[in-house]
Amino acid sequence: MIRLLLLFRLFLVVESLNKHFLPKFAQVNNYTNIQILSTKIKVDEVEQFVADSSCGGVVSFVGIVRDSTDSKPVLQLDFESYEPMAIREMKKIAETVLEEFSVKKIAIHHRVGSLKIGEIAVAIAVSCPHRKDAFAACEYAIDTLKQTVPIWKKEIFQDGEVWVSAHP
């Protein structure tokens, strides 16, 4: 019985450690939560971070690995990143969004490594007093991320591989 209790206590300690564990590449303060993860993205964590009593709207975008490109079946996507710079560029996006879109909080989590179809590649959430700002801010954040953040994805097909957007 005592052993069981001890085991349970250990479990609780491990759980609380997990809760506060941040990946190696992260930038977190009260208003921004930016992470590059090699483990599964949890959309609820992203949304919970931005929730705020002053905000009536949370908008989130979730980017998912699609099963095909130009009707060609995709087997998996491999993501790689220049992590320290990617964090810096995502931080710039967060700062712009906080300053110019009346956003209260923003979270951006991006996955790296090999992803299967249906897995989440990116999750962004923003909170605002009003919904229109939240929609605009979330769209700005994902559009800018795709243009400036040094992350690359390679599509793996049955008969080959292609670095996405590499060629015109």
């Binding site: 220049y82 710079m85 953040v149 590499a166 060629h167 015109p168």
Partner: protein
Amino acid sequence: MDVKVVAYGIAKDIINGRELTMLVDDNSSIGDLKLQLLTLYPAFIDLASLSFAVEEEYQDDDYLLKNDQTVVIIPPVSGG
């Protein structure tokens, strides 16, 4: 002088490795390094864009390089 060139994404495939050391003239700019890379690896010409970063920031072609500096090749990004 020497500069360390680090490559990601398709750039890694083009130079066939994560990094290489390049001998460039003193006072070379990123533009000079780019020309040298295009000559050595013509596959870079076919890319939709080719940017460079020093100290985790994008830098323009006229950015002057220092000896032993690390330059990161940023091919077209495709996150999200």
